[in-house]
């Protein structure tokens, strides 16, 4: 069941990339997607967690509009700071711990921090300790209120 689901996803991806309807090519696409599922299907949906992983991806889709909004705000802010004659920046480095548990959510959180206003993730340690470089102390404070972490926490609680 899990095997077929992953191969179906891979095959539709292959089909969208190639757009071929020749039967020989389609059969080679089916064979290669089955083979890749056999080799590394665990990376997409891990064994015994099918329902959980599918829920995770569906919940992640709901997070995307919020992320796009934050990215637009971040870019307007960067443009303002780059073009302002006095360059209103005062960089600080903040360290804090996160309560997120799964790897997927930690990666999402770290990349979201990089994409959102004035902050870039420097390092995430093994104990989920984030080191973040912030353009101004105001953004560091807004990071410590943990609005974004709560949004990602909602994804995690399946």
């Amino acid at each position: 069941m899990r095997f077929l689901l992953i191969s179906l996803i891979l095959f539709s991806f292959w089909f969208l990339l190639s757009g071929e309807t020749n039967p020989i090519l389609i059969s080679s696409g089916i064979i290669s997607s089955l083979f890749i599922t056999y080799l590394s299907g665990d990376l997409l949906i891990s064994e015994g967690k099918v329902r959980k992983n599918v829920h995770l991806y569906i919940k992640f889709l709901r997070y995307i509009p919020y992320l796009i909004y934050e990215i637009i705000i971040a870019n307007i802010d960067v443009v303002y700071r780059v073009l302002h004659p006095k360059m209103p920046i005062d960089p600080v480095i903040v360290k804090f711990n996160s309560e997120l548990e799964t790897d997927f959510c930690i990666v999402t959180y770290a990349n979201s921090i990089t994409l959102t206003p004035g902050t870039v993730t420097i390092d995430v340690g093994k104990k989920r300790d984030f080191i973040v470089h912030s353009l101004t102390s105001k953004y560091a404070e807004s990071l410590l209120t943990r609005d974004m972490e709560k949004k990602i926490k909602e994804i995690e609680n399946v």
Partner: protein
């Protein structure tokens, strides 16, 4: 006669170019490595995504626009990760961040 589709696509591509130009200016203007990464990591991502969105609007719904959409998803994952790798290596090699106070001393 210019179609509406072409105008919208042109606007997207133009704003994408604007963001990339601003990112380049930012890389030149900002004082040190850590601050330079900010425009490179954010405004560049936005610029590339806007240009690709413009191309999708121009192309309409076809296999090409789906491929462009995949490229957008790829950029959204890869760009912050690459930025993170750059900054982490700088941090581990001991580069000290620039601050406003040092300038006043």
């Amino acid at each position: 006669m210019i179609e509406l589709k072409e105008i919208i696509a042109g606007l997207f591509i133009f704003s994408g170019c604007f963001f990339i130009i601003v990112a380049s200016i930012g890389i030149v203007r900002f004082p040190d490595f850590y601050t330079r990464v900010h425009p490179a990591g954010k405004a560049d991502t936005m610029g590339q995504i806007l240009i690709l969105t413009g191309l999708i609007v121009y192309e309409g719904l076809s296999l090409i626009s789906i491929k462009l959409f995949f490229i957008i998803c790829f950029i959204l994952i890869v760009n912050p990760t690459a930025t993170h790798a750059l900054v982490k290596s700088a941090y581990l090699s001991g580069l000290k961040p620039w601050t406003r106070k040092k300038e006043n001393d």
